[in-house]
Symmetry: C2
């Protein structure tokens, strides 16, 4: 299949274009996840890192840097940094959510224990930190430090907003920026920063990552109510069981009559869930057009992501990033 075969998924075309860079990133990840003293660390990390994740975030860093004409080797370090931060947050998320499956496989907290997931996550944070220091760029470190703070803050906010029917769409957006968009935005921004391109292009790539991440997370939250286990590799209905206030729920609750509201209070606030409640939740979302409305918001963010790319020079990678944004929502077309 040719590199530019339009029938390929945008993600696969990016992967093909960036194949050499990604090979270097994967080699670096394997080297840096080792531990001289604690073999548990590479065991736990390998379980997750080699589970066939899409490596979307490191690919964004590589694509941004190459699109900006970068010719050094810090983009590989930063791509590995971003993947380590992502892997660390997954390990901690699975502890917090008490998840049992991730990427279609049992989670590390299930295979080993919560303790290992917490501590190996901390180790990967520290490793990511070492990697970014090696780039010698204070601005890059500033961006990634800020992203780390936004990620952790968003996770805490999600924790306290869960089970609270008063959660607004504004709070949801802050949570989504924390759990997904902050790292997407940092991933593309640092790729631009190390390339030394004009500020307008740095901001454009940051905005692209931010909007892409928000669209991606809205779609993920929609899939949790509409996908199949096979399609997304985790249990559909997880968010419902964990009583998370995601966008389709927020929209359905906003339009609920008294009887429907009592249902949401019971299943989300009180956590009193029975057989058939998930199907009823889906029916209420369909009745109020909550899924369609959420999908429309995802599409608006995709449009923002694409618009941000306009200031970038014409380049095959620009076209692929543009297609990638479109594809994010095509998952629920």
């Amino acid at each position: 299949m040719g590199l530019m075969d339009a029938s390929q998924k945008p993600h696969d075309r990016l992967a093909a274009w960036l194949a050499d860079d990604m090979a270097a990133v994967n080699a670096l990840i394997r080297t840096r996840m080792a531990s001289e003293h604690a073999p548990r660390i590479p065991e736990v990390t390998a379980h997750l890192v080699e589970a066939g994740g899409k490596r979307l975030r490191p690919m964004l860093t590589l694509a941004a840097a190459r699109l900006c004409g970068y010719a050094g080797d810090n983009h590989v370090k930063l791509a590995a940094t971003v993947e380590f931060i992502h892997t660390a947050t997954l390990l901690h998320d699975d502890v917090v959510d008490e998840s049992e499956r991730r990427r279609g496989r049992p989670t590390a907290n299930l295979l080993w224990d919560n303790k290992s997931s917490v501590l190996v996550g901390d180790y990967l944070f520290a490793r990511s930190f070492q990697l970014m220091v090696e780039t010698g760029s204070l601005r890059v470190m500033d961006i990634l430090a800020n992203a780390s703070a936004v990620i952790a803050e968003g996770e805490v906010l999600q924790l306290t907003a869960a089970q609270d029917l008063a959660t607004t769409e504004a709070i949801y957006l802050t949570v989504v920026r924390g759990k997904t968009a902050a790292l997407f935005a940092a991933a593309t921004e640092v790729g631009a920063v190390i390339s030394g391109v004009p500020e307008a292009q740095v901001l454009a790539l940051r905005d692209y990552g931010d909007a892409l991440g928000i669209a991606f997370q809205i779609v993920d939250d929609l899939l949790d109510y509409g996908g199949t286990d096979a399609a997304i590799g985790k249990n559909t209905g997880d968010d419902f069981r964990e009583r998370k206030l995601t966008l389709p729920v927020i929209k359905a609750v906003a339009k609920a009559d008294a009887e429907e509201r009592a249902f949401w209070v019971r299943v989300i606030e009180k956590g009193d869930q029975h057989e058939g409640d998930l199907a009823h939740a889906r029916a209420l979302m369909a009745k109020h057009g909550a899924m369609e409305a959420a999908r429309a918001e995802a599409l608006a963010w995709v449009a923002k992501a694409r618009a941000a790319l306009a200031v970038m020079p014409e380049h095959p990678l620009r076209a692929m990033l543009d297609d990638l944004a479109g594809y994010v929502v095509a998952r629920i077309a």
Copy 2:
């Protein structure tokens, strides 16, 4: 009481000498532990930060910087950085150890939940990272990134070494460097680095922190078998219940006859503990001089810490750091 009153504890004399700096550190900690979006964060952090901890690590950074004649304000940022890293590790440690008391109060994981402790810990790591980036010193970031990795690696090693009677004193030392000495050493080293003193003094202060940290942890592990609840503010016997292979246990196991070994296998490896087992463990340690031998090692590390200070110029802070090292072991005199 005068600043130099020899009857004061060394720690109190340091605190008095560094009072203005520590006030600035405390103010900075309060500012930076805030969160615009997630009030849970300052709640959890305040519970721990304001529980009357000794602030030993930030004080080491301040003392090292002032001893080196530092006149800027990055020492305050780095002292806060070090305290944030320490607080983050305490939050995660209490989750991993399933602890219920810390500094004489219920732990955060007991008052809130494990989820909050994990995520607020992550937030504090990110905040520490932001603070150190503000100093603009790549060398400082390198030191603290490496210390973070050693800390996490040591924690994982402790996890896998627990319950394993084959744990050697060398493994114990690696664990201790991770859980305590790495941050002590980084705390003093960064204070010297920002001051721009000659390399020999940087290394001397790093070695001081390393040796002080090791002595401190050995004493802490001894106290867990010999102190009283009131004296150390946590439950005596915690390490025994958690089946940790600390130095006095390793030394007693090394000298055990067949019957004693069966006892250690039952209580540590199998975790089958009954009323009276802790007292019996103490008796076996006494019989084999394990406590005395461990204390002698702590004293040797104290001597190393003091010797490291020899290259520093004469200064009241040098005398206080010297006294501090002596005092660490005086706790079990």
